[in-house]
């Protein structure tokens, strides 16, 4: 247990030591999105009746930050450790693959949540979305960040150079995030794109998370919860299988 805790602590300490890059930069980036999109669209778009666009946008941006930072945490830490070679210190230790997985994913969840809370608190200056069901908010934030943390472990282990990781991030994570309804409700999309969005697991994470704020969503939050939970189980199984086999870690 101490092995797991130490690895988790090491990952968290690393985040703290480069907090400008890991915590403050993503918060600033999200606030810039909020500033620009709300300025341009506030007067033109009303997604839910009686909800201003800026207030609608805030939960989506918070969740987007949570997800992107959870992914970035495990993936960047692992690839850095692999490329510099210091992953060897973890591999030499009597740490089980379950502890390895849990430590990296939990550290990702913590970073995702810290950035999410930071974005939320800073965004309150622009608008104050209601908090209808905080439990849904916490549940989707934790499950979503764990799912992305797990995907980050897969990407960090699979990638052999930063270029490959950037490809994973820019061609998979980024499009799925941006096309998940962060900036719009999928009901505003043409039928084809609406149907396509339903195959995007990120859509369910954002929609369920937003339900916690407004009590309104495109899809039932229970269905979203089932999809996100199912994806997390699938990804956890895949990551554990990779770690157990020693894929790209133990030659």
């Amino acid at each position: 247990m101490l092995s797991f805790y130490t690895l988790f602590y090491k990952e968290s300490l690393r985040v703290k030591k480069v907090a400008f890059q890991t915590l403050l930069s993503p918060i600033l980036t999200s606030l810039l999105y909020l500033l620009i999109f709300s300025h341009v669209l506030e007067q033109h778009v009303e997604v839910y009746p009686g909800v201003h666009y800026t207030a609608f946008l805030i939960p989506g941006l918070v969740m987007m930050s949570v997800l992107q930072n959870a992914f970035a945490n495990s993936s960047s830490s692992l690839i850095q450790s692999k490329i510099t070679g210091n992953i060897v210190f973890v591999l030499l230790a009597p740490i089980s693959y379950l502890e390895f997985f849990a430590a990296y994913v939990l550290a990702s969840v913590v970073r995702g949540l810290v950035v999410g809370v930071g974005v939320y608190l800073s965004a309150l200056w622009f608008a104050q979305p209601p908090l209808q069901s905080p439990l849904w908010i916490v549940m989707f934030a934790v499950l979503g960040s764990a799912l992305l943390g797990s995907m980050g472990v897969i990407a960090g282990i699979w990638a052999e150079k930063f270029d490959q990781l950037a490809g994973f991030q820019n061609f998979i994570i980024m499009p799925l995030t941006f096309l998940s309804g962060v900036f719009y409700s999928i009901h505003s999309l043409p039928d084809f794109w609406q149907s396509l969005s339903r195959f995007n697991p990120f859509f369910y994470m954002i929609d369920g998370f937003r339900y916690g704020f407004f009590g309104v969503s495109d899809i039932s939050p229970w269905f979203s919860l089932a999809v996100v939970g199912g994806c997390l189980l699938l990804m956890t199984g895949l990551t554990l299988a990779m770690l157990r086999s020693g894929y790209k870690l133990r030659g």
Binding site: L2, A93, G251
Partner: protein, 297 residues
């Protein structure tokens, strides 16, 4: 008594390369054991398998009776490995690095031992320095310290003195020898054969993934026999002595002789040829001679 390291018919392939080809090796507890061989012979592969950094394709490998695959947590707790590559985590100081490594091995509140290890490796002054700011030699010391934080009964040193200055090399060997005297088993790979000769009680030599020699250091040295003589001559070496010539530098000749008695013949032949001996030095065979002979040079 349990063997510190027990390798039985260990095989490892990397693609078409047969990196380890049925290695058998038994290292007793308390030994200072040398593993020698040219680059690519399989030394680091064997250490990686022992440490769990790679998985064997066949055979069995255990540390103090614990299989490195099926009982990996126990075997890793018993093993302290100094990796060959100079790696470090740039986010942390020396003390943080050693505390984290202790935690990975399940050890809490390890500062007393960490302080002692740092003292022996002259790292005390650098305890709070970030790893990035250390010189190469200092980083190497931290690697040694990291391998020792959990007081492992079996210590594996994979070329620990590569690129290290004489002072550190000596202080490090004093500390490792002390640990060996205290009962720790040491497995060393090195390209410095004089180090292996001075430190190791037994030596195995690997070539193309196979053990080609395995004996006590003394027996390996005795197996060479004869002696070598270095001569500085007033003229050219007579052609009759050419078969014994090992190397020539200016007017200095190194001759390999089958026995000390053969020296008399060499001197007589030089006298007959009218060549005077200006300087003469007798040399015992060393591990390098054994190594070259075993490797077929």
């Amino acid at each position: 008594m349990l063997l510190a390291v027990d390798a039985r018919q260990v095989h490892k392939h990397y693609g078409s390369l047969h990196a380890l080809d049925g290695v058998d090796l038994r290292i007793e507890q308390g030994e200072f054991f040398g593993l020698l061989g040219p680059n690519g012979a399989g030394k680091t592969t064997l250490i990686n398998l022992l440490a769990g950094l790679a998985l064997p394709d066949g055979g069995q490998l255990s540390v103090l009776g614990h299989d490195v695959v099926t009982q990996y947590r126990d075997s890793r707790r018993l093993l302290g490995v100094v990796p060959q590559e100079l790696v470090f985590d740039p986010f942390f100081s020396v003390r943080e690095t050693l505390r984290l490594q202790s935690g990975y091995f399940g050890i809490r509140d390890n500062d007393a031992w960490i302080d002692e290890v740092m003292h022996h490796l002259d790292l005390t002054d650098k305890a709070n320095t970030n790893m990035r700011k250390l010189s190469g030699g200092m980083k190497r010391r931290v690697l040694v310290a990291q391998a020792l934080v959990h007081k492992p009964p079996v210590i594996v040193l994979d070329e620990p003195t590569a690129g290290v200055d004489v002072e550190l090399r000596q202080s490090m060997w004093r500390f490792i020898q002390q640990l060996n005297r205290d009962g720790h088993t040491v497995l060393l790979t090195t390209h410095y054969l004089d180090e292996a000769e001075a430190l190791c009680g037994r030596i195995a030599m690997l070539k193309r993934g196979q053990v080609v020699a395995l004996d006590s250091t003394q027996n390996l040295l005795s197996s060479i026999g004869g002696c070598r003589v270095r001569l500085k001559l007033s003229g050219e070496l007579p052609s009759i002595l050419s078969p014994q010539l090992v190397e020539k530098i200016d007017q200095e000749y190194l001759l390999a002789l089958p026995s000390y008695q053969a020296l008399e013949t060499v001197l007589a032949q030089l006298r007959e040829a009218g060549v005077a001996v200006q300087e003469m030095k007798l040399q015992q065979p060393d591990l390098e001679d054994v190594f070259l002979k075993v490797m077929g040079h």
